[in-house]
Symmetry: C2
Amino acid sequence: MTTRIPVVEKVLSANDSIAAQTRALLDSRRILALNLMASPGAGKTSLVERTVAALKPDCGVAMINGDTSEAAFDAERSQRAGARSVHVNTGGKCHLEAAMVRDALGLIDLDGVRLLLIENVGNLVCPSSWSLGAHLNVLVASVPEGDDKPYKYPKMYSGVGVLLVNKIDLIPYTDFRLDYFTRGVQTLNPGLVTFPVSCRSGEGLDAWVAWVRARLA
Amino acid sequence: MTTRIPVVEKVLSANDSIAAQTRALLDSRRILALNLMASPGAGKTSLVERTVAALKPDCGVAMINGDTSEAAFDAERSQRAGARSVHVNTGGKCHLEAAMVRDALGLIDLDGVRLLLIENVGNLVCPSSWSLGAHLNVLVASVPEGDDKPYKYPKMYSGVGVLLVNKIDLIPYTDFRLDYFTRGVQTLNPGLVTFPVSCRSGEGLDAWVAWVRARLA
């Protein structure tokens, strides 16, 4: 088993240098890139739909959707919402890698694009280990997942720059304790910018969209 | 990159032979082993608590909890529910492997144990590729994850022997279409035994417990 470690290290370091090239390309074009991570079903695609719909009048939005199979449901939903969208089949891998994002970017007409949303594979473990070249890692948590998730996935919660807590409309029907959840988050990542939202009802999304818009300015 | 494939194949094949040894040990002791897989927060641990509480009067239950960190919340919950419980830290890996289960089993007094519950890491991608020696793979889906999950995670839904659909008490508050979900499941895995349940309210759990009890007989 010890022979596997150098292979993994080499792969991660090659990944980092590709991510740095992607970042340089994005910066030269003044494109803000967000890497969206979450459990399966936390609401990444719904958040993308809402965000694209709100920002589309102001700027071009591009979208890269990572999936473990050929099924391109999320990419199609982003496209319908108005984004220039590319589906990446990770071939069973549980995370996106920098080379996948680089190759997908090469397929998108970036003219007029100011925002790139990267929807990672639904997983709270592996995606946090792979830099993609994005400016910010965004975690979409969701109320029905439970309030213990920061305590159980500390690496994910420590490594993100923004947190959305989705499905807050379900709080009355669950045992979710917002104060316990928040205490866990703030211990791992003090001062983390957090948006409680409901992509279903629309609640809280204006603040999130305003925050993204301010970063595009 | 091509050099990585043989390494992975070799690791998977070594895994399978350890899994076969574990299965032989379990069979010789007449222990039924279930490998529980799910997204983070779908309710694996709540299901374990309910199942252990119901079966404890009849038989000893052992529990192996896989987590990506040192935090042993789930193992402690299983223990409080009455199981002989071992916490496995996967060291950041997003799935359990056969050697981890074998080593954990070595730490449990199996005297009187008839049921072994293995709680895999919360992830719908990788755990399905690793045999552990269990008799049955059990998937815990959950209503708020959305009704599109069978379509997006076909490998997971194809490879399981039982499905629980948890949090059915939330159906009225979500857009979950049970018929669309079921159609996806049945296309991938015709005739899959399915239990709609709510670990919060207790609804549907009697049928699940009766089904497990019948397999112990």
